[in-house]
Symmetry: C2
């Protein structure tokens, strides 16, 4: 997790000592630096300059790839959301269709993401929304919610997404969303262990699906 891999990536082509003028893939390197810094220092103390230092370029370089600071953060968040969806899909593998356990698993991944990548999570959901308003982000969110919707429908034996399915999904999403924030803010130890996380989610799933 949070691999601090080297960011400079001049492909082996270039002679050793000579620093190449062009970076190779600066855009990706900057996104990775952004991700790291957002996790290390927190989203609100993130600075473009520091990302530049970490990527080994001048402070003006990013503006060839991103409109401004916000767009840089946005790009990092976007990648994070891809990871989140991937994690959810992976978690569903092997759990039988229509089992409430699938709903629980989605929730577990959501919370896990919030705890593993708190910086990115906060950027996406903590209300930077006014500044980070990329339509692709909104779309991605709908997509994640779609996964939940279809699982809930199957659990309830519905062939389509009824109003009731939609409502219950919304309730569960709210719950898991809030839980993620609270666990992140007050520390996992505080409450998360107090009542075991998985059983907590099962409890809620059961209450909501009934």
């Amino acid at each position: 997790m949070t691999s601090t891999k080297k960011i400079e990536e001049n492909t082996g082509q270039t002679p050793a000592g000579k620093k190449a003028y062009h970076h190779g893939d600066l855009r990706a390197a900057l996104i990775e630096a952004t991700r790291q810094l957002v996790e290390e220092k927190g989203p609100d103390s993130f600075s473009v300059s520091e990302a530049c230092r970490r990527a080994g370029v001048s402070t003006a370089a990013p503006y060839k790839h991103f409109k401004d600071k916000t767009e840089m953060l946005s790009a990092a968040v976007l990648e994070g959301m891809v990871r989140l969806r991937g994690n959810m899909q992976a978690a569903l593998e092997g759990i039988p269709e229509g089992s409430p356990e699938r709903v629980t698993a989605i929730g577990m991944e959501y919370v896990a993401f919030a705890l593993n990548e708190p910086g990115i999570f906060r950027l996406k959901f903590g209300g930077f929304t006014d500044r980070i308003a990329d339509p692709r982000l909104e779309e991605g969110g709908q997509q994640s919610f779609g996964i939940l919707l279809s699982e809930v429908a199957k659990c309830m034996g519905e062939s389509e997404v009824t109003e009731d399915v939609r409502k219950r999904s919304f309730l569960m999403w709210s719950f898991v969303h809030g839980l993620s924030f609270i666990l992140r803010d007050h520390g996992l130890a505080d409450k998360g262990k107090e009542f075991e996380l998985h059983s907590l989610l099962e409890d809620v799933s059961e209450r909501m699906l009934r």
Copy 2:
């Protein structure tokens, strides 16, 4: 709501034209300016300088009253939390003891606060926690949760706060917390009306208290 009242407050004492060197109550004026700006521009674009401009003082003045920017924001949040608790207490007036409606009412106030004072709400709960770590804030939070705990206990006919009471309260808090964020981010119209807010909270209270 969000009264944009005048911030300069030299008490009538001072002759009209002459701007008094001392402000009267700059500390309070700065907190109010901070609150306003946080709501207008959002917490992350808040700047001390702008608050100074609004309060009509030099940019160095705040540092006689606050250690730094964070402490200024912190003070504004602290006042907000006092308002929130006040709202909750007021909402309980007139609702019979032990009624589940009391629990619902608490939730309603929580969500209402998030929608009416989104900036402050986000500062408190959106994860600025690493920076804003005033012990009085933590204490205040516990106090609010305490209100919920005792109401839930009464609803369940328990004379004391059992482990079960604690767990259910925690679940409901998580839910309302998440709901607040989602409604705030995606706009009230989107979902809040779709399933009427009050009935949504009643639904959850009922599911959780059962």
